[in-house]
Amino acid sequence: MLEMFEYEFMQRAFIAGILIATLASISGTYIVLRRYSLMSETLAHSALVGVAVGLVAGYNPLWMAVIVAVISAWLIEYLRSSFSIYSDAILSILLSGSLAIAIIIVSLGGAFNNSLFSYLFGSILSVSSEDVLTILIFGSVSLALLIAFSRDLYFIAYDEEVAKTSGIRVKFLNYLLVTVVAIIIALSIRVVGSLLIGALMVIPTVAALQYRVGFLNTVLISLFIALFSVIAGMTFSFYFSLPSGATIVLCVISIFIISLVINKK
């Protein structure tokens, strides 16, 4: 089993994968509880616009993905709080809109190639040292923010209005949460791919919710499921030459099904 760590790219992929599993599952808890599950899909598609700009214009695609995903997250939060449009409709509009823009940019720039393909479906082969460093820096800041505001975010997920009347800065924290989620998603697309990251963010929490335990235990179970799926998925991916993102997603879905069955009412 350890022979895979003789390859430097696997070491990088594992570090990146473990960081992403941690970030995606913890932030995913809030996203799921707030009925924002679809948001991860939308932001992943917005991140693709950044990737497209990066590939065509020659900037770092990961950085560009972070920037565009964050702008998109703010736009979603602004539309949600300022207009009477259903949240899921906003997400749906931005999802297809982003994808359309990304495709046009890539097509105009002639960048329809393997490089883009790796961002769509994730590729452990392609994680560079620079990517690991980017994930580490942004990831640490995001994790610190999530931990610092965990109680407030939990309260808001439970009841936004009651949290507001208890003196919690709901508006600020809503923007903070979507910003952190956007960053995490943009960072994840390297390893899991933009079409699959939503699964890593949402499914571990949904699986953990089946155990019907308190908040902290739900977060811990979700974290464990995400870490296990990423490690197992990457290992399978290495030994059976399967795409990493898809293998990870199938692992997490298997655990979800097991959780569902053993906790059946």
Binding site: R151, Y154, Y158, E161, A163, T165, V213, G214
Partner: protein, 256 residues
């Protein structure tokens, strides 16, 4: 009573609220003082919940002034003094991952600083609130598994955990059986008398709590303030308020 000389907790003057040109509340002026037990009644759609939402800054008035402890809402910072239990409180999402203790702890959230756990004072406040509402035995249970009456008490324990001076309850009785309701009313009266917590209670059950309350506000677009509810609340008032012919059913226990 010399209420006039104290700064009211809520001071509302000429409040108007309209949505898309339709008037929901018109020209409401009222004050609520420390230690009072105020009940708010009125027909559905009459604006009771809207009034509470305006008082708490959840909606902005079209016109008029609201002061909280003498301050404008946007300048008010001491939200821990206010405990709010909304209408939907006992309809918790059954899958929400929260034990009773998780929920009651939320009441302390705004008092805690980053990265720090709860102090002894915080823990005691959470425990006290659970004891007062008689939910301490349930602390490790998931809220989704509780009965309506138990949930209702948990929600109030959550509001009490911030050591509030005023509790605002918006018909928190949905899905609660009669026995639990009676017990709940007794608890509210006790909080008001023994702990001097001001209570503002939106309810339909005015007959049952008539003995406990100090003043009664009837809200149906306009407000009528009744300073001595037991004497002045007549059938005519009720008919006018609800727009139907009403018969007050007297609770024999209260007759002399």
């Amino acid at each position: 009573m010399s209420l006039k000389f104290k700064v009211p907790i809520f001071d509302v003057k000429n409040l108007n609220f309209s949505v898309r040109g339709q008037e929901i509340l018109s020209n409401i002026s009222l004050e609520i003082f420390n230690g009072e037990y105020v009940a708010i009644i009125g027909p559905n759609g009459g604006g009771k919940t809207t009034l509470i939402r305006l008082l708490l800054g959840l909606d902005k008035p079209t016109d008029g002034k609201i002061k909280l402890y003498g301050k404008k809402i946007k300048n008010f910072k001491e939200w821990h003094k206010i405990g709010y239990v909304p209408q939907r409180a006992s309809l918790v999402d059954e899958n929400f991952p929260a034990t009773v203790e998780d929920i009651v702890k939320m009441g302390r959230t705004s008092k805690l600083s980053f990265f720090k756990g709860m102090s002894e004072e915080d823990k005691n406040a959470v425990k006290d609130a659970m004891i007062k509402m008689d939910v301490l035995d349930l602390k490790d249970k998931m809220v989704g598994t509780l009965s309506g009456g138990q949930r209702q008490r948990v929600m109030i324990a959550r509001a009490l955990a911030s050591s509030p001076e005023i509790l605002i309850l918006d018909e928190p009785n949905t899905g609660v059986d009669m026995v639990s309701q009676k017990r709940f009313y007794a608890l509210l009266a006790k909080l008001n008398k023994d702990e001097n917590i001001t209570i503002v209670f939106i309810t339909h059950d005015i007959g049952v709590i008539a003995d406990d309350i100090g003043r009664l506000f009837t809200i149906n677009q306009k407000a009528t303030i009744c300073n001595n509810p037991k004497e002045t609340l007549s059938c005519e008032d009720m008919s006018e308020l609800y727009g139907i012919e009403a018969h007050l059913i007297h609770n024999h226990k209260h007759e002399h």
